[in-house]
């Protein structure tokens, strides 16, 4: 379980725990395949990852992923806007952007 600096989002609302799943290079860097994170937006989540996992920090800048990485919500759609809202039932997959060979 990743300890969040605050279980509340920046607007004071309760930030529920959601799952982050790492694939490829992000998994290699994070050292784990999954984490639970408290966040209400994509940018907040990425900011926490950068702060708490130094090996990921070089791949996250200004709450955005390096172009070599991609983020997918629930296996359905790829997201990049830091303002993308996240729900406690969501699962964010972080993977290498060049998914192929």
């Amino acid at each position: 379980m990743l300890a969040s600096p605050s279980a509340f989002g920046s607007n004071g609302e309760w930030a529920g725990s959601m799952q982050v799943e790492f694939l490829g290079i992000p998994r290699e860097r994070a050292g784990v395949s999954t984490l639970e994170v408290h966040a209400t937006t994509l940018g907040q989540l990425l900011g926490q990852l950068a702060a708490d996992i130094p090996a990921l920090a070089e791949l996250i800048t200004d709450d955005r992923l390096h172009p070599a990485l991609a983020a997918n919500l629930n296996g359905d759609r790829f997201v990049s806007d830091p303002q993308t809202p996240l729900d406690e039932h969501d699962c964010l997959l972080i993977l290498s952007a060049d998914a192929g060979g």
């Binding site: 290079i25 070599a68 952007a97």
Partner: protein, 576 residues
């Protein structure tokens, strides 16, 4: 003719007589088609044999280099092998890497065209542009690796060797040409070389080309190399393409049991984590490459380079989760000189035919690593059932009947690589329209599916221009020639490609010119296919993929009508 980057000629070698002509290449041709796949397409059209049998003596086999070969640009030591495919009977270009490209260009030519048929199994020796045939009976039946080692021992270590294995000698329609452990893999160019009674080509040369701006080229190359060490190539360097397997399984796009599913319950056992736990590995790379993408896992007393395509094709596609079996199968394909994707696809197809009672081979069952290994050996020697499977899944389906063509995992006869079309529908379009058949290297459309540009489970007409962009970019990279693993390093690839050409050739190349060049090259491939008998009905997918949801992902449905609309829009945007 520009004095920079090119020799301005090609060698046309008739192995029936061991004769060679040095034929000029106009600068206009080189500028319009560059090198590699582009130049190969032009030469193939120029030979005028599009309607010929691919394995006939008159069918040309082209080895094409480029202006960038021999330069300090990272990943530039590559060559294209271009011919009419014996598997698809359509245009085929396959690429391989390393010293053969450098030596080939140092023979004083920009390409080598081989025609004819040698009187007996031979080695074609090209020594600084002089040509002779030597007897190859001592390496008849030898693996690619043994052949290369034996011939370097015979001719000298300064020679670079490209060879076929037993599969090429037996005219397996997806036999490869191998150099230094890397294969010009897809489409059966190994069978074409074998049909000419050529076991191997041995090259050495001393003739180098000049660069227009050597100082600036060196500086640019150094900066590009530094970028190539960054996050954009980390996946290839640290994990290899094997990392794709768990990603695809997670997204439900990992072809399993002949495309009956997009998830494989044993995927974790084939992941880099498990391969690493099971065996130590080492890394290697091509000559002139800073990425070092090759991950080599010991198997027995030797090692095998394992890519995602081999893990999927010989693993999940055949229902095999046993790491040792998959590594051994991959190794055996390398030894025999077999394309792992077509081998795995054809074997998996046969396994499903057995399951359905259409083929009498009870030993050939999904999940049996032993069966995969046995099938590979039969294919390589064209023995028993292998004689049927050596012709690929499409021909096998026609022979088996029972409507099995519906489940043969191929487009235009080329077996589908490791991307489930129903869940990656821009890729599905790329597969359907590809000149050489279902191919993830000539269409990078899966990158579009793994982005926010499209809905990968429901491609609309918006996806078409993205698919075209990836196809054009691939054609350009294959003609420059640069490794596609470098692609993420560029912010503006066309602008940088123009810079590279300016520095090497002195041409005032521009990004817009190269976009046009890419379209020209793709069109040339289509032109060849038209002459070879292509019809619009070929630009589609097998029945299995149409109108039926993917079992593990009910939202992933590709209707026949929608694919038809996508293909029609593709042709409209191509202005064909």
């Amino acid at each position: 003719m520009s004095a920079f980057g090119f020799h301005g000629c090609y060698l046309r070698i008739d192995v029936s007589h061991g004769s060679v002509e040095r034929i000029p290449l106009p600068e206009a041709v080189l500028r319009q088609f560059l090198g590699g796949s582009g130049l190969g397409a032009w030469l193939l059209l120029n030979e005028g044999q599009a309607a010929s049998e691919p394995l006939a003596p008159g069918a040309p086999l082209v080895f094409a280099f480029s202006a960038l070969v021999g330069s300090p640009l990272t990943t530039s030591a590559k060559f294209a092998v271009v011919s009419k495919s014996p598997l698809t009977e359509r245009f085929n270009d396959s690429l391989a890497s390393s010293g053969f490209a450098l030596s080939g260009k140092r023979c004083g030519c920009d390409a080598i065209v081989v025609v004819g048929r040698a009187p007996s199994l031979s080695v074609l020796v090209v020594d600084d542009g002089r040509v002779r045939l030597e007897d190859a009976s001592d390496v008849r039946g030898a693996t690619c690796e043994v052949t290369e080692g034996t011939l370097r021992g015979r001719f000298g270590s300064e020679y670079r060797i490209a060879s076929i294995g037993p599969a090429g000698e037996h005219a397996v329609r997806y036999a490869t040409i191998s150099h230094d452990g890397r294969h010009a893999g897809r489409g059966g160019s190994g069978a074409v070389l074998g049909s000419k009674n050529i076991k191997a080509i041995a090259l050495r040369g001393t003739q180098r080309t000049e660069w227009a701006h050597p100082g600036e080229l060196a500086a640019y190359s150094k900066e590009l190399s530094q970028r190539s060490f960054g996050p954009a190539t980390a996946k290839y360097r640290e994990l290899g393409t094997a990392a794709n397997l768990l990603t695809f399984n997670r997204f439900g796009t990992l072809p399993t049991r002949n495309f009956q599913s997009g998830t494989f319950e044993e995927a974790a056992s084939l992941s880099p984590d498990q391969l690493r736990v099971a065996r130590e590995k080492t890394r290697a790379g091509c000559v002139a490459c800073t990425i070092g993408c090759e991950h080599i896992y010991p198997v027995g007393d030797t090692g095998v380079r394992v890519e995602y395509e081999s893990l999927f094709a010989l693993g999940s596609l055949c229902g095999v989760g046993d790491r040792q079996s998959v590594l051994l199968a991959s190794r055996r394909c390398d030894e025999l000189g077999l394309d792992t994707v077509s081998a795995g696809g054809t074997i998996a197809f046969a396994m499903e035919c057995v399951e359905r009672g259409w083929l009498d081979a009870p030993w050939l069952t999904f999940g049996s690593g032993e069966a995969v290994l046995r099938a590979i050996d039969l294919i390589g020697g064209r023995e028993g059932l292998g004689s049927l499977l050596a012709d690929g899944s499409r021909r096998a389906a026609h022979a088996i009947g029972h409507g099995s063509i519906a489940i043969a995992p191929q487009v235009k006869g080329l077996e589908i690589p490791g991307y489930e079309p129903r869940a990656l529908q821009t890729m599905a379009l790329g597969f359907a329209v590809g000149a050489r058949g279902a191919d993830h290297n000539r269409s990078g459309a899966y990158e579009v599916d793994f982005s926010n540009k499209v809905n990968r489970r429901h491609a609309t007409l918006d996806a078409v221009r993205h698919a075209i962009e990836t196809e054009d970019k691939a054609a350009l990279m294959d003609s420059l020639i640069l490794c596609k693993f470098l692609r993420g390093v560029f912010e503006d690839f066309h602008a940088e490609a123009a810079t590279m050409l300016q520095l090497v050739t002195g041409w005032d190349a521009t990004a817009d010119e190269l976009r046009e060049t890419a379209r020209r090259i793709v069109t040339a491939k289509r032109q060849f296919n038209l002459l070879a008998g292509w019809t619009p009905a070929e630009d589609t997918l097998p029945e299995r993929f149409l109108d039926t949801p993917l079992p593990n992902d009910p939202a992933a449905v590709l209707s026949r009508d929608r694919l038809g609309d996508l293909v029609a829009e593709y042709h409209r945007q191509r202005e064909w």
